[in-house]
């Protein structure tokens, strides 16, 4: 079998053909600088405005509240560091986040801690949920920002964002959410969900890599990370990635217009795999919540094994998946998310993430199950800890 079966759509996704076609003219044919005052500059400026409107429609905000960035990580850093630096002179040097955020948020927080800020890391329960009561109790008069992800990249848990946002509103604290995994996968409404700032990234919903968005509610002003020209309302300098922005707008529009259909397809494949694996592979367990989870996410632990073993075996069968999350593949630590939901280290080490996309098929889901049913017992047979458990 030479075909690749790509089940790592939470890491990145292929660019949709329709999106690619929409992007292509903006490289060589329409190449004007959007800041230039002549015809070919106006063309690219219009293209960016169109994408901005597409994003605004998807999030239920004003186009003037949409800022294009270089990636989701930049959006997170901007929201967090920009808010902290803006409010520090007013004595607000405390931030709140959760223990299961993406490293783009956690490491931005660590960096602020090194600069004298204080950060509260809210715990999560065994399903990965942050409690609005915990948040309420953690907010202080000097809290500058709360940042809680909309949906977790590893275990797929969807946080109660509207409730968390309501707590922040009530307390008058700015609320940012990293929606990188959620955008284009589940419905988002920044008004209804009480969100002040939101990060998203095009490559997670079949758009191009290297293009993100930070939504910033009118009236909120995180300090700029990039100063320079007057792009993005003087708040994010740098000549715009026009083709990327066009691709982001188109991809998000397509994802949102087919959201239910797409989710139903992903869910069907995921539920098939989860049910079959839990039934056929002893002691396999699903991480995260059964209902409030991203439609394409299956995070499954296989006690007795180390995840990389499974990853390599799957790769030899042409299947691309992930242990924990892709960002961790160079680290020996088990995932901070899996530890935060209370998994023992050795079980956290044996955890795989399968993430389904619109392009995946039932045949691929079946092939994944067949392959796992073959490789897991095979590798467990040489595992001393599985053997001791069974002895």
């Amino acid at each position: 079998m030479n075909e690749i079966i790509y089940l790592d759509n939470a890491a990145t996704t292929p660019v949709k053909e329709e999106v690619l076609q929409e992007m292509l003219p903006w490289f060589a044919q329409f190449y004007g600088n959007p800041s230039s005052h002549y015809s070919i500059g106006y063309e690219t400026k219009d293209a960016i405005d169109k994408a901005r409107a597409q994003v605004a429609a998807a999030l239920n905000c004003q186009p003037s509240e949409v800022y294009f960035t270089g990636c989701g990580t930049e959006s997170d850093n901007w929201a967090i560091k920009g808010s902290a630096l803006r409010l520090a002179p007013k004595g607000k040097k405390h931030l709140i986040t959760s223990a299961i955020e993406h490293h783009a948020v956690l490491h931005a927080m660590r960096s602020l801690e090194q600069q004298g800020f204080e950060v509260t890391y809210l715990p999560v329960d065994s399903k990965g949920f942050v409690s609005p009561e915990d948040l309420k109790a953690a907010i202080r008069p000097d809290t500058a920002l709360v940042s809680i992800m909309m949906a977790n990249n590893e275990i797929g848990t969807i946080e109660p964002i509207a409730k968390l946002g309501a707590v922040c509103r009530e307390k008058g604290v700015c609320f940012h959410t990293d929606a990188v995994q959620a955008a284009g996968a589940i419905p988002i409404d920044v008004q209804a969900m009480n969100i002040d700032m939101l990060s998203l990234s095009a490559h997670k919903f079949n758009g191009p890599k290297g293009c993100g968005v930070l939504y910033i509610r009118k009236g909120i002003a995180p300090l700029n990370l990039l100063d320079g020209g007057g792009q993005e309302g003087r708040r994010r300098a740098g000549t715009e990635n026009v083709a990327g922005i066009v691709g982001l707008g188109k991809a998000l529009e397509l994802a949102v217009s087919s959201l239910e259909q797409k989710a139903a397809h992903q869910k069907a494949l995921r539920d098939y795999v989860v049910q079959r694996i839990l039934k056929n592979i002893p002691e396999a367990r699903l991480n995260g919540d059964a209902d409030k989870r991203l439609p394409g996410n299956a995070s499954i632990s296989f006690p007795g094994l180390e995840g990389e073993t499974i990853l390599l075996d799957l790769d030899m069968h042409g299947i691309c998946a992930s242990t924990g999350s892709a960002c961790n593949s160079d680290s020996l630590d088990p995932s901070h998310v899996l530890l935060a939901i209370g998994l023992p280290h050795e079980i956290a080490h044996g955890t795989m993430r399968f993430s389904f996309g619109p392009q995946n098929t039932q045949e691929e889901a079946e092939f994944l199950c067949e392959t796992l049913e073959q490789i897991i017992p095979n590798r467990r047979a040489m595992s001393p800890i599985w053997n001791s458990r069974k002895a």
Partner: protein
């Protein structure tokens, strides 16, 4: 570029000498589940020669490949020769390992030493003068794994 050499992948996909050895007269186990790798080495020693060897490993691809390679390197060798096996020799035989995985080769070396020490202990001989002081465990520390930057005990 792939993370592992073709040799590592060969030993991972087709591990040599895998399983338990019922008539082993030396068994050593190193590593810990918390850090994500445990190696158990079984030796059958006759007239000071390792006539048979098996391993059981919980761990990553490199842990399995280094275990497998280490068993090949000591099978048929005298105990003295086996004790001279270094983690470097295992790494070289595998055409290299990513830096973050070098600790696996240290575990393999220690698993062999632990098994030989067990062999001597069973004979009523103090293994320490022969095998040297065994690090309790390449990973036996309370720190989070990141604290050793993947180099657990390599520079001990």
């Amino acid at each position: 570029m792939a993370m592992y050499s073709a040799k590592v992948m060969d030993h991972f996909a087709h591990p040599r000498n895998v399983g338990e050895l019922e008539d082993a007269n030396g068994v050593g186990e190193v590593g810990n589940a918390k850090c994500g790798d445990i190696m158990r080495m079984y030796l059958k020693v006759e007239n000071n020669v390792i006539t048979d060897v098996r391993f059981m490993t919980f761990g990553c691809g490199a842990a399995i490949a280094t275990s497998s390679m280490a068993t090949e390197l000591i099978k048929g060798k005298s105990l003295d020769e086996a004790l001279k096996l270094t983690n470097k020799a295992v790494v070289e035989a595998l055409d290299g390992l990513p830096p973050v995985k070098v600790h696996c080769s240290v575990l393999a070396e220690q698993a062999i030493k632990a098994a030989i020490a067990d062999y001597y202990t069973r004979l009523g001989i103090d293994p320490e003068p022969i095998v040297g002081k065994l690090a309790d465990d390449a990973h036996d520390h309370d720190h989070h794994c990141s604290s050793c930057e993947g180099g657990c005990s390599c520079d001990h």
